[in-house]
């Protein structure tokens, strides 16, 4: 028999709720979870209520790293709130319920609940801190290990992935043509299928004709705690192992007979995927790639202009200062925090070093990764990478990568330089751009 009491999967350590009346609301609360709550599977249900005064509540957002991971309307019936506020319209359906997948959060997490009102105002409702069990997937030493390039767009990640994959022990899929995310794909499959709302939908599925019925429903508890516990624990670990098998099959096929030690892919700072991969691969390694953020900003602006549409988190009509504050600062903050991660012992790589003096930069990188790094091999790797990237003008926004270093001095308006200094100054220093 499994001891269900000692095998919590998700635990909530602290909850701070903004309750009571304010200018905007008659009241509200997060009823569950409370501090000390534990869950038997990789699922976390948040339930509460909110009653606004003048402005309607558009929805309740759940944020991790300032990004929404769930968005739910107020639609749960609350007879108790209706009884407490008989004169307030909407009190009867003032409840909300959001289900968060535990594998969409890192092992230690903090999430924030807030309400979005009809005029766009965001009201903070609660802040939760907690932790989840790490995936337990033994073995995997002999597999092709993930080499994770964690970075923000227009930092030279395609160049770095191309350089790395030019090493005979590293494999990647057409890095300068495609942006393959095989491990992100399988980790996403894992994240979604590990949610109780998915695996419980196999029992009493309400409508097999509904598209994607297997991805989630308001499935009730199974009525068999032992089996439900197994589905949320060992079965999830097995699912993680099988997802790893699928990644391995892809890269083993791509590497061919010679095999490879690492597969290399890109990841974004807000993604939890590198944490998950580090839990299922004993030899996962992470590289934090940065580029002078002011040059990166110039490159984003130029690249969006070249393509004619906004990308990299740039909102249509948004201004550069807002982009620095709203997108760049949070992403770079996460990258700075990841440098301290013990799970993947990340190595900081600066784009400028790769461009200005690639051979010593690569040699140091290969050595850190435990790869052969004699000077002949490194020179050959650099030569091959140059050959692969020679014709890829579509990716560039300057005539020569070296010329793009320090372009911000010419390209950025003074007021944006000032915003960068104010918003990113500490991070520039931290990453070695202390000017």
């Amino acid at each position: 028999m499994t001891d269900l009491a000692t095998t919590a999967v998700v635990s909530v350590d602290s909850v701070d709720v903004n309750e009571g009346e304010s200018d905007y609301v008659h009241g509200g609360n997060l009823d569950s979870p409370r501090a000390g709550f534990t869950s038997d599977s990789y699922g976390l249900a948040l339930e509460g209520w909110l009653l606004s005064k003048r402005l309607a509540v558009e929805h309740i957002e759940v944020l991790y790293e300032e990004r929404p991971i769930a968005c739910v309307p107020l639609e749960v019936e609350r007879a108790d709130i209706a009884a407490g506020f008989p004169e307030v319209e909407g009190a009867a359906r003032s409840g909300y319920r959001a289900s968060i997948g535990g594998l969409k959060l890192p092992p230690e997490f903090e999430i924030v609940l807030r309400a979005k009102l009809e005029d766009g105002t965001r009201l903070p409702l609660a802040r939760l801190q907690g932790h989840r069990r790490r995936l337990a997937v033994p073995g995997g030493e002999d597999l092709i290990q993930p080499l994770m390039v964690n970075t923000v767009g227009r930092s030279g990640s395609t160049l770095l992935v191309t350089m790395l994959s030019s090493h005979p022990d590293v494999v990647a899929f057409s890095p300068f043509i495609k942006d393959a995310r095989v491990s992100t794909y399988w980790a996403s499959v894992l994240q979604d299928l590990a949610e109780p709302s998915s695996f419980l939908s196999a029992f009493d599925p309400p409508d097999l004709d509904r598209p994607h019925w297997w991805l989630g429903s308001d499935a009730a508890e199974l009525g068999d705690p032992e089996v439900e516990h197994w589905l949320g624990n060992e079965a999830t670990d097995s699912l993680a192992r099988l997802s790893r098998t699928q990644i391995e099959a892809f890269y083993a096929h791509l590497a061919g007979e010679g095999g490879a030690r690492y597969f290399v892919e890109k990841y974004l700072p807000h993604q939890v995927i590198p944490d998950l991969l580090a839990e299922v691969y004993p030899g996962a390694r992470e590289l934090i790639l940065v580029r002078d953020f002011r040059d990166q900003l110039c490159s984003v602006i130029a690249f969006n202009r070249k393509r004619g549409w906004s990308d990299f988190g740039y909102t249509e009509g948004g201004d550069d200062a807002e982009y620095v504050r709203r997108v760049m600062r949070p992403s770079l903050n996460i990258l700075a925090g990841r440098l301290e991660s013990e799970a993947t012992s990340p190595l900081l790589v600066r784009y400028e070093d790769l461009v200005l003096d690639p051979e010593p930069a690569l040699a140091g990188l290969f050595e850190h990764l435990g790869l052969p790094c004699d000077s002949e091999l490194v020179s050959e790797t650099v030569r091959q990478a140059r050959e692969s990237t020679a014709d890829m003008h579509h990716h560039r926004t300057s005539s020569d990568p070296a010329a793009s270093i320090g372009r911000w001095r010419e390209d950025l308006p003074e007021e944006i330089v000032a915003v960068c200094d104010e918003e990113l100054g500490d991070l520039l220093v931290k990453f070695g751009y202390g000017e």
């Binding site: 899929f173 057409s174 043509i177 794909y185 599925p205 197994w230 079965a235 097995s238 699912l239 098998t245």
Partner: protein, 438 residues
């Protein structure tokens, strides 16, 4: 080795209706695909307004669709007077795991006003999925329609020492269907190509069902062929492993049952896929006099206060009989004929009136000890528990031939018209005339 072979394509030269013209450019007759899928490419042009979609139907149910939005300058030139002629092309990825092993497809053009016209018929065959080990817990599939006594049969079969099922009286476990649905979804190019061409990662479900992902987007034909071939087979093994893990966990400690028992609906492709994936898969086709079944559904829906079993989709009981009930009954009959010795017919009435012989027949079909003692032990175990709230008549025996008592004459007339040919094939008496029900 080809994984899909097209045996024939029949174009509807003069489709009629409001279509000005249509043509399938692909697949070609005798065409082959090296992946578990192929594309239907062509054009269709309606007279008054652009078509809203082109659907691919198998046994009357859609298996793929696309909006006709591909530019066709050749058609625009040929129909220069028609303003909406240029974007009339379509390209529809079809996943072979959504198809029967030998398939017949109808391609239908649909307009915004509800009009529709067939464009072509496509016939072909796909490779079967590689079979797994005989050591795995094999599926024992009860293929049936709702209110046919399937819960009782699943319970009865779960009492076999060689079988396992999850709480048949309490829950309707569809673990086999869940994992084959995952397999079908991930085997579509609209999903597996997302590995090579990811969309916006912030979007939920970016990794499947992406209409922008079509053959060729990965830019590496060899790798795409691997993903659509070996990659799909590897996925099938993935899903099979999950089913086995669940039922292995459910079995009593130290025991390894031979079968897991679940229900399936007649239109589902799941029994086909599981039969391919498991060398020892067995199928029981359970029928009940469809007129009694109809009475039971009507009574059950009244008892619960809402319309289940597909009844909500029909305007009235007569239409329900003509569509859902008739189609399901015909599918079960076709299934019985197609499966031959691979399926075993069980009539609910025999199960109730002659349980020993009926259960013994099933146990022989399953290749397990069907001695008198073994059958008696299973029946005794099964009869020690039942669930009264599942019933709509007080005694089980009263539920047999209840249609003669409960079915309104006008509905009996509809049954006579559409169900009698199938009923007699399954060994039931024909409805004859409504007067016989009095």
């Amino acid at each position: 080795m080809a994984l899909v072979e097209i045996s024939g394509v029949e174009q509807h030269e003069m489709a009629g209706g409001r279509l000005l013209g249509s043509r399938l450019d692909a697949p070609k007759p005798q065409g082959q695909s090296q992946t578990y899928g192929f594309e239907i490419v062509g054009w269709a042009l309606a007279e008054a307004a652009p078509l809203t979609k082109v659907e691919v139907l198998q046994e009357g149910r859609p298996v793929a669709e696309a909006e006709p939005e591909e530019k066709r300058p050749d058609i625009a030139t040929a129909f220069a007077d028609v303003a909406h002629a240029e974007p009339c092309g379509f390209r529809i990825p079809v996943s072979a795991l959504d198809l029967r092993q030998k398939f017949e497809l109808t391609v239908v053009a649909r307009g915004a006003d509800g009009s529709h016209a067939p464009i072509a018929q496509i016939g072909g065959a796909r490779a079967t999925l590689p079979a797994g080990s005989e050591e795995l817990i094999q599926p024992l599939m009860v293929n049936t329609i709702g209110r046919s006594g399937s819960t009782w049969l699943v319970w009865l079969l779960s009492c076999l020492p060689e079988a396992v099922a999850f709480s048949p009286w309490a829950r309707d476990a569809r673990v086999g269907t869940y994992w084959t649905s995952v397999l079908q979804a991930l085997s579509r190019p609209q999903s597996y190509l997302a590995q090579l061409v990811p969309g916006p990662l912030e979007q939920r479900n970016w990794w499947f069902d992406r209409p922008d992902l079509r053959s060729g987007v990965g830019g590496d034909q060899g790798l795409e062929a691997w993903l659509g071939g070996e990659g799909v087979e590897s996925l099938a093994e993935f899903c099979r492993t999950r089913i086995d893990a669940f039922y292995g966990r459910l079995a009593e400690e130290g025991e390894r049952p031979r079968y897991f028992v679940e229900k399936y609906l007649p239109y589902q492709l799941t029994p086909d896929l599981l039969s391919e994936m498991y060398p020892g898969a067995r199928e029981v086709i359970l029928v009940r006099d469809f007129r009694d079944m109809l009475c039971s559904i009507i009574a059950f829906n009244e008892k619960r206060g809402w319309q289940a079993f597909g009844r909500a989709e029909a305007a009235d009981d007569a239409e329900y009989v003509q569509t859902t009930v008739a189609n399901s009954a015909k599918r079960l009959l076709r299934r019985l004929r197609e499966r031959g010795d691979g399926a075993h017919l069980v009539r609910y009435e025999d199960l109730i009136k002659e349980p020993t012989q009926t259960l013994g027949g099933m146990m022989r079909f399953l290749g397990i000890d069907a001695s008198e003692d073994a059958v008696a032990a299973v029946l005794a175990e099964a009869e020690s528990q039942s669930l009264d709230e599942h019933r709509t008549t007080t005694k089980v025996s009263e539920s047999i031939d209840r249609w003669k008592r409960d079915l309104p004459p006008e509905l009996a007339e509809v049954c006579a018209e559409v169900l009698d040919p199938v009923l007699t094939e399954f060994g039931y008496e024909p409805t004859l005339t409504p007067a016989s029900s009095s």
